[in-house]
């Protein structure tokens, strides 16, 4: 089944990319743009068919490789 891992910079951690994107959007005259944060989306095809197991596996992958828990937090969804 398919798992989606979303990785975002933690609250309070500087996000230079989000900051720059927000700035650029204002430059393009988009009004009312507040905070912008940018992170990653990783889509995984897993052989695992049991949802609970698949989620556990994806979370393990996130902790081990996909997310840097010092500065990022992650979320797993099953599609």
């Amino acid at each position: 089944m398919k798992a989606v891992v979303t990785v975002m910079p933690k609250q309070g951690v500087l996000d230079p990319q989000g900051k720059a994107i927000g700035h650029a959007l204002q430059g393009l005259d988009f009004a009312g743009v507040g905070e912008v944060r940018m992170g990653k989306r990783i889509e995984l095809e897993l052989a695992e068919t049991d949802p609970a197991k698949a989620r556990a596996q994806a979370e393990e992958m996130a902790r081990k490789l996909l997310a840097n828990l010092v500065i990022e937090s992650f979320k797993v969804e099953l599609a």
Binding site: A20, I21, A24, G27, L28, M38
Partner: protein
């Protein structure tokens, strides 16, 4: 030749480019701040290398949206010459002045080293001081130089002779090993239909002085100076 160099925030090879151009033309190029919009009187507009807007989001994406790009597009439509090097190539592609896109290097690592470029045609303002098939050395330094376009586009580019430089071995063979960043068909540089807008990833401007290890890049600028002499 009157040349101008566009400077976006985060661009950092504008000085190198200015040195190479002055060497070839004898005059200092005009430095164009990204908020300007008047390019009148310029024969050549150069978008140099660097990390415009930090290369955040996508290399060249934010610069491609800035005011001066409209002026550059108009300059190109007037038949003016536009040279984009490294980040400049990425910006021209993002702005749609050149087809395709530059993806992350296949190795996922920044590549800073010399490469060898095979000149695919010598009848352009940029390559007239090289021979067709000639191989020259050039430094390269980028994290996103992996040229991509769909097959139709690639076929069209080849058909129209718009592939100007390919990564090659010093002997001129087009091999996978010579193609460090993984570009489609070893493409290092392409041109617009009228051959006046050129984008390439490597940095010939950093090899124009024997002291720096060679002058392989100098013919590109000498050729331009001769072609656009006015």
């Amino acid at each position: 030749m009157k040349a101008g160099i566009v400077v976006f925030p985060g661009i950092n090879r504008e000085r190198d480019m200015a040195i190479a151009l002055e060497l070839a033309t004898g005059r200092k190029p005009r430095m164009i701040w990204h908020k300007e919009s008047d390019l009148t009187g310029l024969d050549l507009v150069v978008v140099p290398g660097g990390f415009s807007y930090g290369d955040y989001l996508r290399c060249g994406a934010m610069a491609a949206q800035s005011p001066v790009m409209a002026a550059i597009r108009a300059h190109a439509e007037r038949g003016g010459h536009v040279l984009g090097v490294c980040n400049g190539f990425q910006i021209l592609a993002e702005a749609g002045l050149l087809p395709g896109a530059l993806l992350r290097n296949a190795s996922l690592r920044f590549l800073s080293m010399d490469c060898h470029l095979r000149v695919e045609r010598s009848d352009t303002a940029y390559t007239r001081h090289y021979q067709k098939g000639q191989v020259f050395r050039s430094p390269m330094a980028h994290g996103d130089g992996n040229y991509f376009a769909d097959d139709d586009t690639l076929d069209r580019l080849e058909g129209e002779g718009r592939v100007i430089f390919r990564y090659a071995t010093p002997e001129g063979e087009i091999t996978a090993a010579a193609n460090r960043n993984g570009s489609a068909r070893n493409i290092a540089g392409i041109a617009s239909e009228n051959l006046r807008v050129l984008g390439l990833m490597p940095h010939p401007e950093d090899l124009v002085d024997p002291l720096m290890g060679g002058t392989d890049g100098k013919p590109l600028f000498d050729g331009l100076a001769a072609a656009l002499a006015a």
